[in-house]
């Protein structure tokens, strides 16, 4: 009774649960679940096919062989990590591209706004509902891999590994949230759902394919002469890398690689003098997290920024019925 009463008194919750139930019943959701299952199977196949070879190693990551389930690939299929970096933006865009403009085109938005609710409830609820569903999907995906991995390997992950997997899932959600917000922004901006979808996918394609090409072009143009000191080379490489980091995908890769490969100690290029006396040893979780903390902050910041822009746009928009 109480729960119903609170639901009735909280219109925001009502909108969120309605959004979730609408999505879950839709074809879109079924396609997404199918994608997730395929990803799970594909990455498990890629990882477990020659897992014994992967853990033979002799590298500093040997203590963390459960994490190899997420990063290792036999070469025929991409690893889980690569799958996620493709799947994340795609699912994020697909959940958000039609959130506002479809409502508006169908004329349901003005009807909804006729209810005694704050206007921003609609946008917030759309975002929250989509993020909830995506969170379930991605946490589920991570757990599926974890569970199947347990069955096939038979050795449970250590606490440190488990913490890394959990934080990895949270970073996944943040990354997906970034693309979700971007596509919500487009759905506010563009009246046509198709335009909005195309805009989202274009941005994604630009960053995954063209951005690195452009950066490489710039780097080639600016490349110093061949005979330069080590320090100059390192600073040039840092510059190129910083350019690459305008790409959210690059930020995400930095974070996930560091989290799932504890032996990664530095993301930038290193001079040899920096490595003198260093032991190739895995970092503790806290230090791995500290290493990629700027990237995490940038992803969260970007997510919040796009949300803020979408929010302002939506709130200033004049909404009329058709």
């Amino acid at each position: 009774m109480i729960s119903i009463a609170t639901k009735q008194t909280n219109p925001f919750g009502v909108i969120v649960s309605k959004e979730i139930s609408d999505t879950v019943k839709s074809w879109k959701f079924i396609i997404m679940v199918a994608l997730v299952l395929l990803t799970c199977m594909g990455s498990l196949y890629a990882a477990l096919d020659d897992f014994s070879a992967a853990i033979k190693g002799g590298s500093a990551d040997d203590d963390f062989f459960f994490l190899k389930l997420y990063t290792h690939s036999n070469g025929t299929l991409p690893s889980f990590l690569v799958f996620i970096s493709f799947l994340g933006p795609l699912l994020g865009i697909s959940m958000g591209f039609d959130s506002i403009n479809t409502e508006q085109n169908k004329g349901t938005l003005s009807r909804l706004l006729a209810q005694p609710i704050y206007r921003d409830y609609i946008l917030n609820a759309k975002f929250l509902a989509a993020l909830t569903i995506l969170s379930y999907l991605f946490i589920g995906l991570s757990l599926l891999v974890l569970g199947f991995g347990l069955i096939f390997i038979g050795i449970p992950p250590t606490t440190d590994e488990l913490m890394r997997i959990i934080i990895f899932s949270i970073v996944n959600i943040i990354y997906v949230g970034f693309w979700l917000n971007l596509s919500i922004l487009f759905s506010v901006k563009f009246r046509q759902a198709a335009t909005s979808a195309l805009a989202g996918i274009s941005v994604w394609l630009f960053f995954t394919i063209f951005y690195s090409m452009i950066v490489n072009l710039i780097a080639k143009g600016l490349a110093p002469v061949r005979f330069i000191s080590e320090n100059q080379m390192v600073s040039f490489q840092r510059f190129v890398q910083n350019l690459m980091r305008f790409n959210p995908g690059q930020l995400f890769n930095d974070v996930t690689t560091t989290l799932l490969r504890p032996s990664v100690r530095s993301l930038g290029p290193l001079t040899t003098e920096q490595t003198i006396g260093a032991i190739p040893n895995p970092l503790p979780l806290g230090q791995s997290l500290m290493l990629v903390w700027p990237q995490v902050v940038a992803l969260i910041g970007g997510t919040l920024l796009f949300f803020a822009i979408a929010y302002t746009m939506f709130m200033r928009r004049e909404i009329r019925s058709r």
Binding site: R119, Q274, G277, M290
Partner: protein, 382 residues
């Protein structure tokens, strides 16, 4: 020729005359028992072998009982000839017969003179005296052709000695050594460690003494008396070991912990302990460090003037990590060095990144959340 004949005659006559003379003076009964050593000194447990000659100076054959009288009851004796025990002996006229008398002197016997008689019926009697002395050292012998050895405190000194049993019986020797405190002596007769050994009568045995000095022994000459003692005899000798001085030290932390955590740019004080484990004084121990680039290692006392054997000295080292050190583990090697010995210490240091950046990131996130909250307040609630 004539003269030769006359010489021969004189010789024969004189021999005959001499014989008659001796018979007259030696024994009234014309029969005697003879042995050359009638009084001997032996130690308890020994066996005395006599050879008794029974000489018949009569023309007729004699046939008499022979026995040993007045011998203490616990003593054993055997009287043999040609491997048989003899009770009665017959000797042709003008001939002699040899018997062997063997007397076992028991171990438990009082010191003193014991006289007993070898009697041939009532015709002849020979008093024999055995003087039992205390355990004589000349009955066993322990020798080593190289009694002196030189080495460091870590060396094993192996002496090959020979134990000789000069007594007439098999002897069971207890093997003993009395080394100085802390030393160890391993005694190996027949290549096996043992505390006692058996040596046959008149036999020898090789005995190996392996001597090990305590690790903290001071340089010098040490004497280790070793002994082989049996019930009746004993032998001893002194082995000499010369220890030359060693230069050694150990270098560690008081707890043995060789790792530390350090935030990039910060410093850490580490307590180090230098110990002289050698046997001579160490002088001018210098401390140095090989470290990653841009790190600093300083010591509160860069040079220890002198350190007596067994003594320790504490030094504090301050390790400062590079401000830009990437996180993870590093090795810093600290070396303690004199001209004679050196020892190094690999110190594992885990570098952590400073938390400042973390807080800055959290601040940025909080600011952007605050911005959205402001937006919601401004636009959403009117």
């Amino acid at each position: 020729m004539k003269s030769l004949h006359s010489y021969c005659k004189i010789l024969i006559v004189s021999i005959l005359f001499f014989n008659v003379q001796q018979n007259i003076f030696a024994n009234d009964g014309k029969t005697e028992i003879f042995t050359p050593y009638t009084k001997v000194s032996v130690s308890p447990g020994s066996t005395v072998n006599y050879s008794l000659d029974i000489i018949n100076n009569n023309e007729q054959t004699i046939n008499e009982n022979i026995n040993i009288s007045n011998i203490p009851r616990s003593w054993n004796y055997t009287l043999t000839a040609s491997g048989m025990n003899i009770n009665k002996v017959a000797v042709l006229g003008s001939k002699k017969q040899t018997l062997k008398l063997k007397i076992d002197v028991p171990y438990r016997v009082k010191k003193g003179s014991y006289t007993f008689y070898a009697k041939l019926g009532s015709i002849a009697s020979l008093p024999l005296t055995i003087n039992v002395t205390t355990a004589g050292s000349n009955e066993s012998e322990l020798t080593c052709d190289q009694k002196n050895m030189e080495g460091t405190s870590k060396s094993n000194f192996s002496f090959n000695a020979v134990l000789k049993n000069k007594t007439a019986t098999k002897q069971q020797y207890a093997l003993m050594a009395s080394p100085p405190r802390g030393w160890s002596v391993t005694i190996k007769p027949n290549h096996k460690q043992a505390t006692s050994t058996e040596v046959d009568a008149n036999g020898t045995k090789n005995i190996n003494y392996t001597i090990k000095a305590p690790s903290n022994v001071k340089a010098g000459t040490y004497k280790i008396p070793v002994k082989a003692v049996s019930g009746s005899t004993s032998a001893e000798m002194e082995l000499e070991v010369v220890i030359t001085g060693t230069y050694e030290m150990s270098f560690s932390t008081p707890t043995g912990l060789l790792s530390a955590k350090i935030t990039a740019g910060d410093d850490k004080k580490v307590e180090l302990v230098v110990k002289n484990t050698g046997s001579t004084k160490l002088e001018n121990i210098e401390l140095s460090a090989s470290k990653p680039k841009n790190w600093e290692v300083s010591f509160d006392n860069k040079k220890i003037e002198s350190l007596e054997p067994g003594k320790t000295s504490t030094v504090y080292a301050t390790i400062k990590a590079d401000k830009k050190a990437i996180p993870g583990d590093y090795v810093t090697k600290i070396t303690a060095k004199t001209s004679e010995a050196n020892q190094n210490l690999s110190f594992r240091i885990m570098v952590k990144t400073p938390m400042l950046m973390g807080w800055l990131g959290i601040l940025i996130i909080l600011a952007s959340i605050g911005g959205i909250a402001f937006l919601i307040k401004k636009f959403g609630r009117r």
